[in-house]
């Protein structure tokens, strides 16, 4: 039986029916704004909260919760990483990581704990008192503690949101690499778009206690099911790309044969696989090239020839779907649409600043591919 999780969970406002194939998509992101119920869902899966009658939770071939069945948290062998790490302040770093290894022979515990610390990039913190760990260091130790017992399922609750921005950026790519190398099926709860895009193979959007969309990250973020999901994910264009060249200030990315210039907060190198995110508000449309010929007479660096493929009215705005060599979306006002005569088939030039193109690194080096299945 393949690794799958089914969770039909009702508790207060939460009412979610979720089936996850964790074989094909090892990392699932539960994405939604604060208060949408995703942490409650995670706690029910961990066994820390009890869902209401009629709920059912099963992982692989084991039923964790059903009518008359309640497997306590301590018997589910899940690893849980808390937002604020929740380390044991009275124990050393090593004792923290070895805490869940009580079923192992005494002699094997130290070696296993050391291995987990190394895996989480925290081996150098062995001698540091827990109270003196920085936020990022504590989170590494907490990750080692969660990984040490060899959990069947890893649950991360807002793993990076308690950290400051530079630490978060550094730890995000590390966390992605650790999750890849362990291969443990993982569920990540986050309200952070970048985190979702960087870590997830698939994403489940939870709004007001309901599951609204489940699919691959680029699908959900690029083609939200409806306008509420679109508002929650807040990005209209998400496409896979490959970094072709970098300078100190700019990153050149190839998207299905089209080259764009972007800025990236994370250090990147040629060959890195990235997700390219462009908000529809940041795309301006021109009927002709605003700066023909010369490449540096206007400030936006990206001017892409595109064809209108569809128009969707969303309140006062019109969403213009474009084919620019890759699917691209732009927002214009209704009068603008009239003035420009935007209809399917019309040729336009889509203009974006490099700073409006947001890159999320998904894998390092020439071998990295966004989609490991294909």
């Amino acid at each position: 039986m393949g690794a799958s999780l089914t969770a039909r969970v009702r508790r207060h406002v939460l009412d979610v029916d979720l089936t996850l194939d964790l074989e094909a998509s090892p990392v699932t992101v539960l994405f939604g704004p604060s208060g949408s119920g995703k942490t409650t869902l995670l706690r029910c899966i961990a066994g820390l909260d009890e869902p209401e009658a009629g709920s059912r939770i099963a992982f692989r071939d084991r039923v964790w919760f059903d009518d008359g069945t309640l497997v306590p948290a301590r018997r589910r062998s899940v690893g849980l990483l808390f937002q604020d790490h929740a380390l044991f302040p009275h124990l050393s770093v090593l004792a923290n990581v070895a805490y869940g290894l009580h079923r192992l022979p005494r002699t094997a515990r130290r070696a296993r704990a050391m291995a987990a610390l190394a895996q989480a990039g925290a081996a150098h913190l062995l001698e540091t008192p827990v109270r003196h760990l920085s936020g990022g260091e504590a989170q590494r130790v907490a990750l080692a503690r969660a990984l040490a017992p060899g959990p069947g399922l890893l649950l991360l609750d807002e793993p990076l949101s308690a950290l400051d921005e530079p630490t978060r950026n550094r730890l995000r790519s590390e966390l992605r690499d650790v999750l890849r190398s362990t291969g443990v099926p993982t569920i990540v709860v986050t309200h952070d778009r970048t985190e979702a895009l960087a870590l997830g193979d698939q994403v489940a959007v939870v709004l007001d206690g309901r599951l609204r969309q489940l699919g691959r990250v680029d699908e959900v973020f690029g083609r939200p099911a409806d306008h509420e999901v679109a508002a929650a994910v807040d990005t209209e264009t998400v496409v896979a790309g490959l970094v072709t060249a970098t300078t100190a200030d700019l990153t050149a990315v190839d998207i299905q044969g089209v080259s764009v210039a972007a800025t990236c907060r994370e250090p990147t190198a040629a060959g890195d696989a990235v997700l390219v995110c462009i908000r529809a508000e940041d795309v301006a449309l021109y009927l002709g090239d605003p700066a023909p010929g010369a490449s540096h007479t206007a400030s936006p660096r990206n001017r892409l020839r595109a064809t209108v493929t569809g128009l969707v009215v969303e309140g006062p705005l019109v969403r213009v779907d474009l084919d620019a060599g890759f699917p691209l979306a732009a927002y214009v006002t209704r009068p603008t649409r009239e003035d420009l005569g935007l209809e399917p088939g019309v040729a336009v030039v889509a203009v974006m600043k490099a700073s409006a193109i947001h890159l999320v690194v998904r894998g390092r080096g020439p071998q990295a591919r966004f989609d490991r299945r294909g």
């Binding site: 820390l48 301590r74 808390f82 929740a86 009275h90 805490y99 017992p149």
Partner: protein, 224 residues
């Protein structure tokens, strides 16, 4: 000075503390972390000796330990002695009387522990008892010390309950405070003054030592 009475009081206080702390830790753990509703009733029962007049408490303990009660009769059939007016009876009364002084500081200490730390322990495969022993108690050392000191000091100074349950038998049930009361009744103000001063100095030293040792948290009444 009545050294015999002081010795008895110290012995009673040490044994009471030694019995009460191991009882209070699981009780406080259950009160602090259980989700059942009737914990409030138990909490009220535990706090009752704080507001009840010591004579009332002593009266009920006396009745409960007397030969007419099942407990007293059972004890008599077992040992041939009565619990009332004995050190054993005094011990039972002291344990009941000092219960809130052991439980309240522990509750206050347990209440400030981050629940997610306990969740972490559970997810890592530890049950309630193990979490209490390995996480909750080690994180509450200051509260534990406060509970022990308050229990000890409170037992040292008890009067009404002791008088009701133990009477006034030298070497067996005559504690420091009863000795002082006796001296005053006998107009021996000098003896009463010496013993009182000793008790005052002792209490002050013990409490000061506790404050110094754990400036971190001193909130025995946080949950009252």
């Amino acid at each position: 000075m009545d050294w015999e009475a002081i010795g008895l009081s110290v012995r009673l206080s040490v044994v009471t503390t030694a019995i009460l702390i191991p009882l209070a830790v699981p009780l406080a753990g259950w009160l602090a972390f259980s989700r059942r509703r009737w914990t409030a009733v138990v909490e009220a029962l535990v706090a009752l000796p704080l507001v009840l007049p010591p004579t009332v408490l002593g009266f009920y303990v006396l009745v409960a330990l007397g030969l007419q009660s099942p407990v007293g009769a059972w004890w008599f059939s077992l040992t041939g002695t009565t619990l009332a007016f004995s050190f054993g009876g005094l011990l039972i009364a002291s344990v009941v009387y000092s219960l809130p002084f052991a439980v309240q500081p522990l509750l206050a200490a347990f209440a400030v522990i981050d629940r997610r730390v306990l969740d972490a322990s559970e997810v890592l495969g530890r049950g309630r008892t193990q979490t209490l022993a390995r996480v909750v108690v080690p994180m509450s050392r200051a509260g534990l010390a406060t509970a022990a000191v308050l229990t000890f000091a409170h037992t040292m100074g008890e009067f009404g309950v002791v008088l009701m349950v133990g009477g006034n038998i030298p070497g067996r049930t005559r504690t420091v405070s009863i000795s002082i009361y006796d001296s005053v009744q006998a107009f021996d103000y000098a003896a009463a003054g010496r013993t009182s001063l000793a008790l005052l100095a002792f209490s002050l030293v013990v409490l000061t030592a506790t404050y110094v040792l754990q400036r971190a948290e001193w909130r025995p009444w946080a949950r009252l």
